[in-house]
Amino acid sequence: MKSTTETKIAPVEATAAARIGVFLLREGGTPPPAVDYAMLAEYASQLPGVAAVRTVAVSAAMDPEKLAKEIRKAKLNTLVLAAEHPGFYKPAFARALTLAGGVGSQVRLASFAERGDCGGAGRAREVLSSAVRGTPNAPAAEPSPSAFNTATLVIGGGVAGIQAALEIAESGHKVYLVERTGTIGGRMAMFDKTFPTLDCAACILTPKMVAVSQNPNIELLVLSEVQEVSGSIGQFKVKVLKHATRVDASACVACGDCAHYCPVTTASEFDMGIATRKGIFIPFPQAVPNTYMIDPAYCTWVQSDGKKCGACAKKCSKGAVHLDAKDETVEFAVGNIIVATGYDVLDARRVERYGYGTYPNVLNSLEFERLTNASGPTGGKIVMKSKKLNKKTKQEEWVFEPDGEKPKAVAIIHCVGSRDKNYNSYCSRVCCMYSLKFAHLVREKLPEAKCYEYYIDMRAFGKGYEEFHERIREEGVCLVRGRTASVVERDGQLYIHGENTLDEHLITLPVDMVLLSVGLQPSQGTSELAEKLCIPRDDDGWFRELNYNSEPNSTMRQGIYVAGVCQGPKDIPDTVAQASAAAAHALRSIVGATAKAHAAAATQTSTEIAGTPARS
């Protein structure tokens, strides 16, 4: 009985001497492989059992007969196919091996796209060597269940990070949520409404943010950045730089006295610079953690090395302000990492002909979100900027005031920097819909105002989106099919100039406000993070998923997952869905390892129990 089982699973090599043929596949129609094939061929020829190394051009219609001839000539009985995705060609080679008198199942794959260590020549060699030896690729191997760390690191505290963190924490596992800014919430916290339902974004997000702050399994690290990551799945070691908030979170009650007395005023990042904040500030009233923090770049005390000011510390009745607090480095271990670093919007200054940065009433999409948001500088009123004297600099500035003049005509320009070879050639996916939402908000808040949308193609692809598009059309928004070529100001009046491609006429329209639907691009620091995590990015800079269709959450490195826009532009529902999926991936490995560990422990226990009576 025992011997039959053994013969069944015994590999062919055990009985006959293995003559392995390594085939480096060159795929036609795809970009040349990043791996140096000459180097790889040299390496392969030195591996044990390798009888022949060939570099072959492969195509969908390959002739197995020809291959069989070659296999017969070199007397091969095992084949190793090496390429980015060699699986596609396996049937042809298996057939050829059978034709040549071999066993069709003796075809092994060495996929350079397979998970492993950092990319490049090292991994290619590793993958090839594993395939030739018939052993699993070492970096992809999981640690023993007992050594598997069940904690998870989530990088980025936007809606994706929050969702993933909550999914994991609520199933009883530890989560470290690292956020670069002073609050979680990310971009979604800045939005006024969500499309297509026109729900209030904050009403959806803030309960989740609060849930994060209240979940004992989540350790939230704000003003923090990942510095170093080492190890592999189940045992990553992480180093995080935690910038000092200089305010004791446990003592601060967010009364705001400190900010009241702070003499420094600067542009608020959360409000995209259209409103101001103090040197000691809270990003927005619903921020999590709901604690004030000091911006050392603007703080008089910090800048003067403690010689000046310090008003906040003196005025704080709770004694929560510690101006001399230092940044610290935190180290911890996790088993999985979820990357959810989101996006930045394209700097519209690059598209010079739209005059962003030159004309005060040309806004980008996030600025408009803040303007129309009830917690924005005008209390949600859509007004034009007005000129105001800055008492400190003695210069006139364009600022939003709640009693500013209302625009009579608003133009929304789609595809700013998207679908454009000169900027980002990809479609940013959300702009059409948020532009329609903007049009709705303009028409709703300013029924007298005209609203024009200049679009190239209306991409209303999601559930309820086409209906939303129809609704906005019926609301009296003027949709013009054509791209605006320029925005110019003459005698204080903005004009937009473009072609209506449906009736082939050029139109120049006087408008009071122009909203630029700027595209999304990977957030600042994405490339550095990719290097630290050792995961590749695609040509557009987004993190590359393991497989576009079947593994959209996984990366080349086992145990590191992506969620949300950092993997590619997507809307809120898709982001949330992907975040939950990433959490499921992490949980799967945690649960698997835990179950295995329990099983191992149980076996050991039963052995011990079984062994006890015999000994006594």
Binding site: R353, K421, N422, I456, R483, E499, T501, H505, L506
Partner: protein, 384 residues
């Protein structure tokens, strides 16, 4: 009304240099960016559309391509990385071949080997013709350049150049009439009263001599270069067609005639070298692509200029035989250049551009008068 499409149109235009119309996604940025494009002549997107749809007839009846001066702003801003400016250039070549009733233009544009062959054949015939005339009908002595007994006396050249001029003008005129027919007599065109044709006639010489529309482009250098080239060419043509006797007299320098000659020679050589340099460097959008016909045109222009200058210098240097030989070689460049370029190729735009501006103005005037399109559907037709 059925619309006929020609699916091969876009492939055909490839031969004329319009290679990337297929990239266009019809955003209209180019039309709005163009400083020449204005209602009702909105381009270049429409031409890209015609190519994609295979709308041969509307493309043939379009005036737009001639209203474009190819500053390249559309190409620079194109989000698809296409070059609408180059498409317009290709369409202009195609239109030239469509206007040409002989089919020669089409042959020359579509095949550079045919063009080269045609140049060589005409050059050989010219050389053989002038040499045999010189030895048999003319002065007979290769070492006499000017005065009595000259190898190629001015009066003989005049007979030749005026005959050639009339034939070429005739060919070009027929092509111009065809242009008028295509652009002004199609079903979408408005009928224009003869009085309007007279009223706006002045537009033709004004635009011919000043090319002032070209100045609307943001970059003025191409306009200046083009104007200098055209004026130098015209001056040289006038000198040769009318003052050849004074030009040939020597060996002393005849400053009244020659100073004009020198100026236009400088103009011709300078602008040609400038254009060649630009096309080699490819630093501006309008120089990035060069059709074979562009190189042959510039090559011929440079060849003609240099041989012309050389025969002049050789004559003044007291080398009449060398001057005569260079003269024949010079004519071997001049004749193919004029015979092939004026009615069938690049030079023809000297006529087509002012005509297009004129026609466009006439259409707008007719519209202002409330004219209805020629091919308006017959009224009260019973529904099928």
């Amino acid at each position: 009304m059925a619309v006929r499409t020609n699916p091969q149109l876009i492939d055909d235009l490839q031969h004329f240099g319009a290679t990337d119309a297929v990239k266009c996604y019809q955003c209209g940025n180019c039309s709005a960016a163009c400083s020449h494009s204005e209602d009702p002549y909105v381009f270049p997107r429409k031409s890209m559309r015609y190519l994609q749809m295979g709308l041969e007839k509307p493309l043939r009846s379009a005036l737009d391509p001639w209203l474009c001066y190819y500053c390249g702003k559309c190409s620079e801003q194109c989000p698809r990385g296409a070059e609408p400016g180059e498409t317009m250039m290709g369409v202009r070549r195609w239109l030239t071949s469509e206007y040409d009733f002989t089919g020669i233009s089409r042959l020359l544009y579509r095949s550079w080997s045919s063009e080269l062959m045609a140049i060589l054949v005409v050059a050989a015939l010219t050389g053989a013709g002038f040499l045999s005339y010189g030895f048999m009908g003319g002065g007979g002595n290769l070492s006499v350049y000017d005065g009595p007994g000259a190898f190629l006396p001015p009066h003989a050249i005049h007979v030749f150049d005026w005959t050639m001029g009339i034939i070429l003008a005739l060919l070009l005129s027929i092509n111009c009439v065809r242009m008028w027919h295509f652009t002004m007599r199609n079903e979408h065109a408005l009928p224009v009263r003869p009085a309007l044709y007279v009223r706006y006639l002045l537009l033709l010489p004004v635009h011919f001599f000043t090319q002032k529309r070209f100045r609307h482009c943001e970059n003025k250098t191409p306009w200046a270069n083009h104007l200098i080239l055209m004026l130098s060419y015209l001056t040289m043509l006038t000198l040769i067609m009318v003052f050849l006797k004074q030009m040939q007299a020597g060996p002393q320098v005849n400053w009244y005639a020659h100073s004009f000659g020198y100026l236009s020679a400088i103009g011709l050589v300078g602008t040609t070298i400038f254009a060649i340099q630009g096309r080699i460097r490819k630093d501006a959008a309008y120089h990035r692509h060069s059709h074979e016909s562009d190189w042959m045109f510039l090559g011929l222009l440079l060849f003609v200029s240099f041989t012309g200058i050389a025969q002049h210098i050789l004559h003044r240097a007291g080398l009449p035989m060398a001057a005569n030989i260079t003269y024949v070689v010079h004519l071997m460049g001049v004749v193919p250049m004029l015979a092939l370029e004026v009615p069938f190729s690049k030079w023809s735009h000297l006529a087509y551009r002012p005509l297009a501006i004129y026609f466009a103005q006439l259409q707008q005037a007719a519209q202002a008068e409330g004219a209805l399109p020629l091919g308006r559907p017959a009224e009260a037709q019973p529904a099928a």
